[in-house]
Structures are given as C-alpha cells and as structure tokens.
C-alpha cells in the first residue's frame, strides 16, 4: 500500500511539488549560466533568492505532505481505515525521497554535467549532497510535520523552535563573550560535532516518528522535540579535547609528525611589521597583541602546519589565568627549498586592562596546541589571464584579471566539497619570480559529505594582487608581466593531527607587545 498512498499524496500535492521542483531546477540552471559568465552580482543575488525560496518551499511541501494524513487530532478519516502505520510512514518517506529530493538531485546532476564533469563524479556529488539533505533536513522536517495538524500550526511551531534555538545560542554567545563555547565549529574537526548533532537529530526524528505513527502520542513527541532543541544547542558546545582525540584516530599518517617540535625563539626579537611601518596594534575592542617568536622544526618539505585550536595559560601573576587571552590563527608553510626550521610569531591578544595589570610582571606562558600537518598533494599552474584548466582535485579552474586591473583572479569549481588547504601565488614564467603566496585554508577533515552546501558544486577562489591602486605597495610581478605569468595553485591534504605544548618561562609581556 506504500505506493498506493504515495500516489494519493502525489495527486493531492502535485501542484505544490511541481512549483518547488521548478524552483530547485531553476537554481542550478542559473548557476550554470553564472559559471559560464563569471561574476554577475545580479544573477548571484537571484540564485541566493531562489535557493532561499527553494528551502522554504521544501519545508512547506514536506510538512504539507505529512499533514495529508495528519497524526494529531481525531477527525481524520484515515484513522478509521485499515491503513498500516508502517505503510503510511514509508509512503511519506518515499514521497520525500522521490518528489521532494528527486528534483534537487536532478538539478545537482544537471549542474555538474553541464559544467563538464564526469557522470561518475557528478553522480557521487549529487547523491552525497541529497543523502545528507534527506537525513539531516527532510526526515527531521517530516517528524516536525507529524506534530502539527495544519500549516498554520506548523508555521507557529517552526517560529517557536527557531526563536528558542536562536535565543539560546545568542544568550550563550553573550554569556561567553563571543562564540568560544562552540569551539569545534568553524574548524576542520567541525564535521565530528556536526555528525554527532545530525545523529542526535536523527535519533529524535526516529523517536518522534515512532511516537506519532505507532502510538499517536503527540504531547510526549512535542516534549521530546522541545528537549531536543536544548540538546541540539548543547551538542554544538562539544569540548575540544575529546573531539580532537576522535580526529586523531583518523590520522592518515601518524608517523609524519614525530619530529615536529615547537619552541620559543627569543633570538628573533620583537615583532616588526614587514612593511616597516610602526603601528599601535590596538583594535576597536581595546585589545593589545603580544607576538611571541616561535621556531617550528622537523616539518617535512612542502607542508602546511595548521593550528586548529589552542589554549593559553598564564602563571606567575597570581592565580592561573586561563581565559585571559585569545589567540589568532597560526598557519606555517614550509617550501621545498630550505631545510632550516621555520619561524613565525604567535599573536596573543589581551584586553587592555588585563595587559596593563600584568605587563611588567614576570609571567610564565603555557600554550597547548592542537595542530594538523598537511602535505602537498597537487600543484597546478594556470595562465594568469584567461587561463582555463581541468584538474582532478580542483575541477574546472579559470583565471582572469579583475576589472580594475589590479589582481589576477582564479575560481575553481568541482563536484562535491573541496576539502584540504589551498595556496596560490603568481609566478613569472621566464624569470621564476613570485608574488607573495596567498592561502585559502579552511580545511574540513571529514571523509564524507558532512555539512550543508547550497548546491553540489564546491568552489574555491583566489584574488592575487599585482598592483596597488594607491601606489603604496609594489609587487615583483606587475601588470606588464601578467601575460607571461601563471597562477600556481597548491593543494595540501591532512596527514596527521597532533598536539604540542610549549612552556615559555619568565617573560614580561611588555617586551613582546606589538607596536608599543
């Protein structure tokens, strides 16, 4: 009877389903055009709008389909009919998988194929994204739909959930003075937190669907959903250590970092801005930066050392002051030429009042690093102007000079999600001169599709300046050499995830403060 109920729902919902499908098919059609045209802010905004409409349309379609045989209430005709609950549940899942998700899958596939990617890679990307959407979005929406009798109830319920969850997150952000309670998010290990969150959502979905389709217990199901909202927010605050420990278990090459060491290197002296300009590093929030010179040894050639997370402890100024400081990101790159250790400055920001209180005291600093070593996986050279190349790891890449004539731009599109770290620089082919390297390193260490993406295409881009319109900076490769230059893109893949601790004994912060 699954198909029989499915066909009834289709007969009832086809108009809405068709409208939502057209929206979902319109977005990739415009994205294909956009990819061919290059930048077009008008079309970009239109796609954003269509995708938003598509998301809302999907939510309404799923909820309305479930409500065709609503669970709460006592007036529904199906309650008096010999309809097997399992058939009813499965028919709704089949409807969502085929009628709701089908057009999205088709749109994804169409987009990937139209951009010239192989059927296999297109199918893999489209299926991965759609499976993720089915599990993380559609089924929970179905469960939510079973808690409501009609769309008005669903809209009110949706608003209540949205306001509750957003309110909780905003409150926690306020209490925390930022979003440090979500310390695993916006890092490469976010996929673990997100996977746990999705598992939690799926568990609650299964409970709610079970309650509703097999017991018709709307009140306990609603309470379960309410509790799940709190658990959802709590799951975002996964503590760093256990999550990173899980990530370490997935290390590809645990031996790669055995010789990597980090040490305080006072002989480098106080931080000087490479531009030679002296600046007071006070930002709007009245923080003061202290830059500590560090030496990184034992790094393999062609590697990037990415700091995923760090905690700093200051001792010797009374009690242990754990949350006194905040860190800036650290990303160390080592090329193939030098065997020497790499040095860099670790910037630590202090609130002005904290800094002024302890700046002249002898202080010991302990830093716990969680790091990832990435090594070069591929390198590609593409002509800096009007270049085009297809590569297995970056997909379809194109270059152009921006309309102001100040920077070479590279955009790469690939089916699926682009993982790993990428750097790019301009290289003059006849002389091998290079402009400074730029990094685009927001890695995702997951091995599967683990987070929301608006379409099935991953994108990565660089803007590499070669001329300063204000005339203040000069670049080795300037506009006249662009025709003979290429953009070199390097892809780094994670090898190992590891921790290091450095202890810097007895320093005075004022000796290392930036610009003071």
């Amino acid at each position: 009877m699954v198909w029989h109920i499915f066909k009834k729902d289709l007969r009832l919902m086809w108009r809405m389903a068709l409208a939502v499908a057209l929206v979902h098919l319109a977005a990739p059609a415009i994205l294909i055009k956009l990819a061919q045209l290059g930048n077009n802010s008008g079309l970009g905004s239109l796609v954003d709008l269509i995708q938003m409409v598509g998301i809302f349309g999907t939510a309404i379609l799923i909820v309305a389909t479930v409500q065709q045989d609503a669970i709460p209430g006592m007036r529904q005709d199906w309650l008096a009919r010999p309809v097997k609950r399992t058939d009813l549940l499965l028919s709704k899942i089949v409807f969502v998988a085929i009628i709701v998700q089908g057009p999205i899958l088709l749109g994804d596939l169409m987009e990937c194929l139209a951009l010239g990617f192989s059927l296999q890679s297109s199918l893999a990307a489209a299926v991965s994204r759609n499976l993720w959407m089915l599990l993380a979005i559609d089924l929970p929406l179905m469960a939510f739909g079973t808690l409501t009798k009609n769309l008005a109830e669903a809209v009110v319920g949706g608003l209540v959930i949205t306001v509750t969850v957003s309110g909780l997150i905003a409150t926690l952000n306020q209490l925390d003075g930022g979003a440090r309670w979500q310390e695993t998010l916006r890092t490469g290990v976010a996929w673990i937190t997100q996977s746990i969150t999705i598992l939690l959502v799926l568990l609650v979905t299964a409970i709610v669907l079970g309650f509703q389709y097999y017991r018709r217990k709307t009140t306990p199901a609603r309470w379960t959903t309410g509790l799940a909202c709190f658990l959802f927010v709590a799951s975002l605050s996964m503590p760093w250590r256990p999550v990173f420990a899980v990530q370490q278990r997935f290390s590809k090459n645990p031996a790669a970092v055995r010789s990597v060491a980090i040490a305080f290197e006072p002989s480098l002296g106080k931080f000087r801005d490479p531009s030679g300009m002296r600046r007071s590093d006070r930002n709007e929030n009245e923080t003061i930066a202290v830059a500590l010179p560090l030496r990184f040894s034992g790094l393999p050639a062609n590697a990037v050392l990415k700091m995923d997370h760090s905690t700093v402890r200051l001792t010797g100024v009374g009690a242990v002051a754990k949350d006194l400081a905040t860190f800036s990101d650290l990303e160390i790159r080592k090329g193939s030429l030098s065997a020497e250790p790499v040095t860099d400055y670790q910037s630590i920001r202090f609130r002005s009042e904290d800094y002024n209180r302890i700046k002249d005291q002898q202080t010991s600093i302990e830093i716990d690093y969680s790091l990832t070593l990435l090594t070069l996986a591929a390198s590609h050279g593409i002509p800096a102007a009007h270049g085009e190349q297809r590569t297995p790891d970056l997909g379809w890449c194109r270059t152009r000079v921006n309309s102001a004539g100040t920077a070479a731009q590279l955009i790469c599109l690939a089916p699926g999600q682009i993982k790993g770290c990428a750097t790019a620089f301009l290289e003059h082919l006849p002389t091998a001169i290079r402009n400074p390297e730029r990094s685009n390193c927001y890695p995702d260490y997951s091995r599967y599709w683990a987070q929301f993406q608006l379409d099935a295409i991953g994108r990565i881009g660089f803007s590499l300046p070669f001329r300063d319109a204000a005339g203040l900076a000069r670049y080795p490769i300037e506009g006249s050499k662009i025709g003979e230059s290429q953009i070199v893109v390097r892809i780094y893949k994670a090898q190992d995830h590891f921790t290091r601790r450095i202890v810097i004994p007895e320093i005075r912060l004022s000796d290392w403060a930036v610009g003071i």
């Binding site: 009877m1 029989h4 007969r11 009832l12 006592m74 005709d77 309650l79 008096a80 009919r81 010999p82």
Partner: protein
C-alpha cells in the same frame, strides 16, 4: 460485539466519561442517546482507538480498543458528523483510493450505494454540502460490508430529505451488521434501534432492549371518586407523580399486563378507572432525563 467496562476519560480537570459500562450484542442496532456533551462522541472515539481511555477498558470485535489493528478496521465502518476527508479529491477518486485497503470491498455495492445516495463521482469532496459529505462518509463505510457500523451523530444538520436518503441507504445494506449509532435526537433512532443506552454527563443512566423499554413504560392516569393527592410513599417505579382534580397521573416504569390495577389500588385505594397508555420514545426519555436531573439535584442539595 462492543463492550465498555468502567470507562473514564479526563480532559484536563473535566471528566467526559465517568465509569461508563455497556455492551452492544451482535446483530443489534444499539443507540447511544444523550444530550450534547453527554460523552457519546468521546465514547465512540475510544471505541475506534482515536482516543485512549484514562481508565477502564473497551473491546470491539473482541479486541481491546487500544489494540485495534487494520484487521479489525477492515470490518468496521465509521461515519461521523465531523470526519475530515481529503477535500481536493473527487468522490470517485477517494473511493478508488479506499478500495484496495479492504479485501471484501464490493464494487457493485459501491456503485449501487453511490447511485442510491446520488453522489456525483466527479464532484470534489471539498465542494460537497454537509449532507452530501455525510452521505459520502456512508458510501465509504458500506461497500466492504462491515460487521460493525459506527455512526456518530450521523443525522446532525441533515435536512429531512437527505436524512431519509441516508437512512434508506443504511437500512437497505444493514443486513446482519451490528450498528452503533449515537444521537441526541430521539426521533432519529425510533424504529431503527433494537437496543438503547442513555447517557448523561459521562455516565450511563440505563441500557436496555428497545422492546423491553417501550414495554415497561406506561403513561398512567388513575381517575378517583374523590380529589386525588400524591401518595406520601409512592413506589420508586412511579415517576412524575402528580394529582390534578380527581386524576392521579404518573409514569409507570415497571408495567406488566394484569397487575397494574391491583398495585394502584393497594396504594391509593378504590379507583374509578385506570388508563395506561404506551409511551412514545421521546416521552420515556424526557421522563427519565427529568427524573435523573431531579435525583441529582436532591443529591447535591
């Protein structure tokens, strides 16, 4: 066929049912009568497992109402005054949808019932009037020849013509099926019900075969040679005893042919004439309802 044992149902602080017990025998047309709010619909929702009782137990077709499965529902027809059917489907489309769920669905009977009830197959359910929707619900409940047909206020809001069409459709197909019908309108079940149960404020006041009920109630008028007075100790079987001139009137609830005269004379003495008339159903219920209310007021006082 249907049995309710000490059913209780609470909605918040309100007791919709308060220890309701009754049983409807197989093959009967069992009428559940009571004013609005008496608990009839709640009882039926419990029997259909749309609601769970707070306490007590009901069995339908020998199965606990909480465990009614599609196997039992395939043998139960259900018609309710507030039954939500998919309004965007046409009459024909909805019958097409329901047909495969019932292994005993009789297509010829479906056509016959639909024709008899004059239901246009191509009309959208959402466009049907209330009366037509009730007929539609009946047309969806009969073609699988249910063993049990449950009708919850089926005549509510129907005009006489539609009501007659509905009843004709029902009676022609009733056959051996057991029918449970709830109503607050006595005239609707008169001539249809074989058994009757009267509910008031979530409780059952009585449950009886219709023939027994109509047989034991009589509107009695006793004419005396002297001015009549209500006896100080009237039997409990007499309801609404009143004296008007030489006439003593009451409702006899334990009437048996032959002994009325003797019983009356033993209480009021010599009489000139005793006139005992059978009572219409409406008068029986009015008498019972008034008596129940009076008793409740006495208890409260």
């Amino acid at each position: 066929m249907i049995r309710a044992d000490n059913l209780w149902k609470k909605f918040g602080h309100h007791d919709a049912l308060r220890g309701l017990s009754f049983s409807a025998p197989e093959g009967s047309a069992f009428a559940l009568i009571g004013a609005n709010g008496a608990g009839k619909t709640t009882t039926i929702k419990i029997l259909m497992n749309m609601l769970e009782p707070t306490r007590g137990r009901a069995t339908v077709l020998g199965v606990d109402s909480r465990r009614i499965s599609p196997r039992e529902l395939e043998r139960i027809g259900y018609v309710s005054e507030n039954q939500d059917m998919p309004s965007a489907l046409t009459v024909g489309q909805y019958l097409d949808y329901l047909r495969p769920f019932y292994s005993r669905w009789d297509r010829a009977l479906e056509v016959s019932v639909r024709r008899q009830l004059r239901l246009p197959a191509e009309r959208r359910i959402g466009d049907l009037s209330h009366g037509m929707r009730m007929k539609m619900a009946l047309a969806c409940a009969l073609p699988f020849r249910p063993a049990l047909l449950i009708l919850d206020e089926p005549f509510s809001g129907l005009d006489p013509l539609v009501r007659d069409e509905f009843m004709e459709g029902l009676l022609q197909q009733a056959g051996e099926m057991t029918v449970l019908i709830s109503s607050h309108e006595l005239s609707e079940i008169d001539g249809v019900a074989t058994h009757v149960a009267f509910m008031d404020e979530g409780k059952l006041l009585f449950e009886e075969a219709m023939s027994d009920l109509t047989g034991r109630f009589r509107d009695v008028q006793v004419t005396l040679d002297r001015p009549a007075a209500a006896p100080a100790q009237a039997p409990q079987d007499w309801l609404h005893v009143k004296a008007i001139g030489n006439v003593l009137a009451f409702v006899e609830t334990r009437f048996t042919e032959g002994d009325l005269s003797e019983r009356v004379q033993s209480i009021v003495g010599a009489v000139r004439r005793i006139d005992a008339q059978p009572m219409p159903l409406r008068s029986i219920f009015t008498a019972l309802a008034r008596s129940a209310r009076d008793a409740a007021e006495v208890r409260r006082a």
